[in-house]
Symmetry: C2
Subunit: 480 residues, 2 copies
């Protein structure tokens, strides 16, 4: 190694040791940070001007620029008062796993390349399949996230249930609350939009079983072939869980594949208290489950599980000549045989580290903490005149809106609630975005960050109630 | 934050600062390490016994176990004498990017969540499209690797070129050297095996254009619809580059989509000396390009580029209600509109850091260094009696075999060369695996690691020539 390279490595060591200290400090004081600081125009202009240089720049200069202009210019999804989307619950233990895994950079596609990483991924998959209640023949693999997990499972479903000839008359059932990645995945694997039958949900945002039953019967009568059913275990909008027992019954009756999108909610399987909400999940044929949602992982840590591992092998196994020496034995099943990727990072190791250091019980308590906080937010809203709950606390998600004296038009309410969201988000104190439920614009809070406190919830709801637009509306009303 | 959590964070800081020092030291002394140490039976048994505990374990204990049993139990793909597969060229600068990116964990799917990360990804995409020679309307995004890049591009190709009705008679052309992920991707997006027409390659392992032309003509005459053509820019087996000018001509003639799988070879666009080998790539409609192959990145850093960004939007855009607040403006195009993933890590930042700190020129020199070393290996083999070159050095890959006195059967030669591979790999000095070329088992070296020296090549080839099986064969022969 030449001296220039040695000097560079020395600098990387110094900078990264400094950065580790700084990051831990940053996490220790997240509460005091602003959730979203709007990016400065000059910063963005400076970045826009920065070319890929012909000759390298001092690494410390690059480091400082990244820290200041790029990483400092991000919404903090891991902030205890980031309540939008599914916020990040990323733990420093997951980050520790990232640092170690990326240092060694194992090629986690086959047993020979990284035998221990391979074993740990298999152990985690077995453990997760066990939590679901899948039989011994089940399996799965780690993927980048729910979208690829859904895509992988749906491909296996298609190949297991349909002949080529049947594909064009096949029907897949989703609800109006199913995550958009399912429709995207179905498009990618070749289905037309009109083959996706969107079933309405009831007042709890759960798939309406009688509508579903009628839809299937109707489709069968008109010569179509119902083949797959997507149940959501924790929808993005409301945390609602579709009635999986009934869905499983229908799937059995019609020979359909039951896929559960549990990207968000499957983590509740770790809580003795909440896992019963997921009852029926054990009858599913496949499941998507994101560890980067509620299991404290940084992004890129999703899992697809499947009742019969052979269904993944059937869809994804390939044995090119240049990999022959890397197969454990003839006919061995490697991770590259179970999904769309060949080269893949060892995504499971950080979850293993987190589970080893925290234990299952604490992970379960973290799930419960998130559910309790959403319940607290719900109670506060219910006790507030001029506000209504649109969807009660489910799996750490609650939806509500300001309705004033109940005399305003839906349009007016929509724009007031949008403005309430804008104000608190722009303040940097908390991030709360809106979604739409049964055509109403609502405020949505997802309270799953383990660092979020009761005080965070109190202060946030109180600030919502103090929104300028509400005070202004109040004044307007009193002027009349 | 409670005191227990603070104490945990303190320990993570201490361990990770220690680990950073240790990792830099590890990289500084890679040459002295064994490339592959076979994993100890007891280590694997110990890991196999380790449960997911109910209660957490001391983080230092977990750390030490991971270091010793898991990370220490991996083939070092980044070793300067790892010559198999496409070895990892991962730089500590990429690792620095991993550490920083994962600490902040930006949600890199849309501009609002991480404006600076979004801008940098767009700048890199523009720069890479510029290197290819794509027009202003081009675009793309970072994905986990070549398999997903191919899948993404092929989906766009299908949707741009075929009606639903045409799909069942569509034909895609690949060569017998095309990467297996293309066929896998085509299977996922709904094509039958018999719709993939595998064209033979010439003696240089490049797609045979006259066979291709004949195949297309024949398919058109029999009522099929040729719609996509996969050209390889740097095949995995030999580094060969398909004749892209001619392929582009045929694509134009028949209205076909030209996809280039440049996962490995596209990086040569950074070398003024070698980029001309890729001439014709500018006519393609899409391109896969892995930065984790030859651009010094750790795994999970691939790119898909496309001539018309609107083709990705057409296939992948979705606008669910729960993302409405995160769209920059109505109709804005976010990264989640360009590919299969919604939530995604900020994969581009580490490449940006690497390019800023090294500069384009040095990256080009690294490409050239890899090509020169393969050329050196080729010369050494050509000068060695009893050995033959099966595929000359191309893009840092050379294939050769021991042929003894030329009187042995092909079966004997196959097993001798397999044994030569096994011996050197098991010795830990270097990793060289076999592949199959035109039905011969050959030894394959990919020499792209920038830390690999001429001395590494000399010593490795000399060790191959000293293989026990060769010495033994020599003795057997002399006994006759």
């Amino acid at each position: 190694m030449d001296s220039k390279k040695k000097e560079l490595n020395k600098q990387v060591r110094k900078l990264m040791q400094e950065f580790v200290g700084q990051t831990v400090n940053f996490y220790n004081h997240l509460h005091e940070q602003s959730v979203c600081s709007s990016s400065k125009k000059e910063t963005m202009e400076h970045l826009e001007m920065q070319p890929i240089p012909q000759y390298g720049r001092p690494v410390r200069e690059v480091y400082s620029e990244m820290l200041r202009d790029v990483y400092g210019n991000t919404i903090l999804e891991q902030h205890p008062r980031s309540f939008s989307c599914i916020p990040s619950t990323a733990s420093l233990l997951s980050w520790m796993g990232d640092i170690m895994t990326n240092a060694y950079n194992p090629h986690a596609s086959c047993q020979i390349n990284a035998p221990a990483a391979d074993l740990i991924e298999k152990k985690l998959i077995r453990w997760m399949c066990g939590l679901v209640g899948y039989p011994q023949r089940s399996g799965g693999l780690f993927v980048s996230g729910g979208s690829i997990a859904n895509l992988t499972a749906l491909t296996a479903a298609r190949d297991a249930k349909l002949t080529y000839a049947d594909r064009s008359r096949a029907v897949i059932y989703v609800s109006d609350q199913t995550h958009a990645s399912v429709a995207k995945g179905l498009h990618i694997i070749g289905f037309r939009k009109d083959q996706i039958h969107m079933v309405s949900t009831d007042s709890s945002f759960c798939m309406d079983i009688s509508s579903l039953r009628a839809a299937i019967r109707n489709d069968v009568e008109s010569g179509k072939k119902p083949f797959a059913m997507i149940a959501s275990a924790g929808t993005t909008n409301t945390g609602s869980v579709d009635p999986m027992q009934e869905i499983a019954g229908l799937c059995q009756e019609y020979g359909m594949w039951m896929h559960v999108d549990g990207a968000f909610g499957a983590s509740a399987l770790l809580s003795d208290q909440y896992r019963k909400i997921l009852s029926g999940i054990e009858y599913s044929d496949s499941l998507s489950w994101d560890a980067h949602k509620w299991l404290l992982q940084t992004y890129g840590c999703g899992v697809v599980l499947i009742r019969n591992q052979s269904d993944l092998v059937h869809s994804f196994a390939a044995h090119p000549e240049y990999l022959r020496d890397s197969e454990t034995s003839e006919g061995s099943i490697e991770f590259w045989d179970l999904g769309p990727e060949l080269t893949r990072p060892a995504r499971s190791l950080k979850l293993w580290i987190t589970l080893q250091a925290l234990g299952k019980k604490e992970m379960g308590q973290i799930i419960e903490h998130g559910c309790v906080l959403a319940g607290l937010a719900e109670r506060m809203i219910r006790e507030s005149p001029g506000w209504e709950i649109v969807s009660p606390a489910q799996f750490g998600i609650v939806n509500f809106r300001y309705i004033s004296d109940g005399k305003m038009s839906e349009d007016q309410l929509d724009s007031i609630n949008q403005e309430i969201s804008r104000e608190i988000t722009e303040s940097g104190f908390a991030q709360i975005l809106t979604t739409e439920l049964h055509e109403k614009k609502v405020l949505r809070m997802c309270t799953i960050n383990p660092e979020t406190t009761e005080k965070d919830i109190y202060e946030t709801i109180n600030r919502l109630k103090q929104s300028r637009i509400i005070r202004k509306t109040g004044e307007d009303v009193s002027f009349e």
